[in-house]
């Protein structure tokens, strides 16, 4: 394992310190926590927006803190949901009286910890609402299991809910647009090579030299299929077709080509080229495109494709200004 770190058990503490260091005008760390908050929080009468999850997905989630997006991010251990006490601190720090909205990715750990935090906050008289993002079409949409994972589409939920909250909308309104976004967003990922948790010291899975995995999650969880590595165009076709098969995207869409960590931007653009071509062929109009690293899995090589169906309201919210360093509009 080759990493630029100090103590493998201290990476999260060190990272959070380094996230705030040099950025004290805009964000602050709640002392003795791994919660990062806008310096101007809580904002009176604005719905507070809190997200978070395990770390190792940077810039998610702290990079999305800023006017027009998140008010706080709760940073868990690597690939491990943060705990209810930390989440509760974030909720309290951003509650400006209009309630707090939680964006949760659909993993057992995240759901349990955020739900417990929400219960604790409600017990203290804070109004809390939430949305659970489950955009990953690689997982069967079953009510008997945990269901679909939340992956890169989460970033678009942050953006849209954040814009709505910034406009002064009520908690119910924020929830409504967040849920609409979740209903309209689909993603799927793939990987060429694994990632290594600092404290584990070894790659969390193996892939052969000419092998790739379609449908992989952002913690290296298995996908749909392992198979021979194919061309960028063929990868783009497979991923895009799986999204189109799952949801009716006729109309306007936003496209996000997300790098998993180690993939050169060059390769993301090559994928983007083909995705755009496919959508054009199907008369799907691309309203906005995002290419870059938005939701990573440490140094995993690979990418994901996200499509979000847009109506006029979502378009408007997607375009509103955002100060978040990782999603500046």
């Amino acid at each position: 394992m080759k990493k630029i770190i100090n103590d493998p058990n201290q990476v999260v503490q060190d990272m959070v310190a380094g996230m705030v260091s040099g950025f004290t005008k805009t964000i602050k760390q709640i002392p003795e926590t791994t919660v990062i908050v806008r310096t101007d929080a809580p904002i009176k009468r604005k719905v507070g927006l809190v997200s978070g999850g395990g770390s190792g997905h940077e810039p998610a989630h702290a990079g999305y803190i800023g006017k027009g997006m998140l008010d706080a991010a709760v940073v868990g251990e690597v690939f491990t949901s943060p705990t209810p006490d930390q989440i509760l601190k974030a909720i309290k720090a951003v509650d400006g009286g209009a309630g707090v909205f939680l964006v949760i990715k659909n993993y057992t750990g995240d759901v349990l910890n955020f739900e417990m935090a929400a219960e604790l906050a409600e017990a203290e008289g804070i109004q809390v609402e939430k949305v659970i993002v489950n955009d990953d079409v690689a997982v069967e949409d079953s009510s008997f299991t945990t269901g679909r994972r939340g992956i890169a589409g989460t970033v678009l939920v942050h953006k849209i809910a954040g814009a709505m909250a910034e406009s002064g909308a009520s908690l119910a309104e924020v929830k409504r647009v967040a849920e609409k976004t979740v209903q309209n967003v689909r993603s799927i990922g793939m990987a060429l090579s694994p990632c290594t948790l600092p404290a584990a010291g070894e790659p969390s899975f193996e892939l052969e030299e000419r092998e790739m995995e379609i449908g992989i999650g952002i913690h290296g969880e298995p996908g749909i299929e392992r198979k021979q590595l194919v061309s960028a165009d063929d990868i783009a076709v497979e991923l895009t077709n799986r999204l189109l098969a799952d949801f009716d995207f006729s109309g306007d869409v936003a496209v996000m080509i997300n790098g998993m960590g180690a993939t050169p931007e060059m390769e993301l653009y090559i994928v983007n080229q083909k995705v755009q071509t496919i959508l054009a062929e199907k008369d799907i109009n691309v309203y906005q495109t995002f290419v870059g690293e938005y939701m990573t899995a440490l140094e995993m090589a690979g990418c994901s494709v996200t499509l979000l169906g847009l109506d006029d309201e979502l378009k408007m919210l997607l375009e509103t200004a955002s100060d978040a360093p990782a999603f500046r509009v």
């Binding site: 868990g76 251990e77 057992t108 417990m116 069967e140 008997f144 299991t145 945990t146 584990a200 298995p222």
Partner: protein, 206 residues
């Protein structure tokens, strides 16, 4: 069998030793059908418990269990944190008022813990989670007062081993679908260590 404050502290200190010793093994199990962090998470949480318990003055077993619950809840994270937190919190409530905790009360506490974790995790027996160890252990306790520590270990161990044949339908292992079969559930294994530690404490008291 009676559980004193001191017994209960010993229980978690021993459990911690096992988590530390088996940190890599638990992580390896989680690598197979999860995200390679269960050992790291449990070792971190139980270390905190072990650091804390000896420094406090506890009036009751219930208080010990509550502190264990809160510490695990705030230090483990992931799925295991709230699940174990819930178990020991429910247990703490259930045994409140009896000290030392007698067999019946303790059994009741275990059962409340099981009910709580099933609710929290929306999981039932047969889904390849720690419920698959807790449920048979609760049954075992309910069978009678006069048991040997070895039988407890055996029950928990068999239950753990049996998770190997189950296809996961809850937690991260569910993503592996049929490929989850053939691997022992990491959470069931950490639960086994907890009962192994309990058996050792009971044995010492015998």
């Amino acid at each position: 069998m009676k559980l004193t404050v001191n017994n209960s502290i010993q229980w978690f200190l021993k459990a911690n030793e096992k988590m530390q010793e088996n940190k890599e093994y638990l992580t390896l199990l989680d690598k197979k059908i999860g995200d390679s962090d269960h050992g790291i998470n449990m070792a971190r949480g139980f270390q905190e418990v072990a650091n804390k318990l000896p420094t406090q003055d506890y009036a009751s077993v219930s208080d010990v269990l509550k502190d264990v619950a809160m510490t695990l809840m705030s230090k483990v994270g992931g799925a295991a944190g709230p699940l174990y937190g819930t178990i020991f919190l429910k247990m703490s409530t259930a045994v409140k008022g009896t000290d030392p905790v007698d067999y019946q009360t303790f059994t009741n506490g275990l059962e409340e813990g099981l009910v709580g974790v099933k609710q929290r995790g929306k999981a039932d027996v047969g889904e390849k989670t720690l419920v698959d160890v807790w449920a048979p252990v609760v049954d075992f306790f309910k069978q009678g007062v006069d048991f040997q520590a070895d039988q407890l270990v055996e029950t928990a161990e068999n239950a753990m081993d049996n998770t190997k044949d189950i296809q996961a339908s809850k937690g991260r292992a569910a993503y592996f679908k049929e490929k989850s079969i053939g691997h022992i559930d990491p959470g069931s294994t950490s639960s086994f260590y907890i009962f192994e530690a309990l058996a050792e404490v009971i044995r010492e008291g015998e």
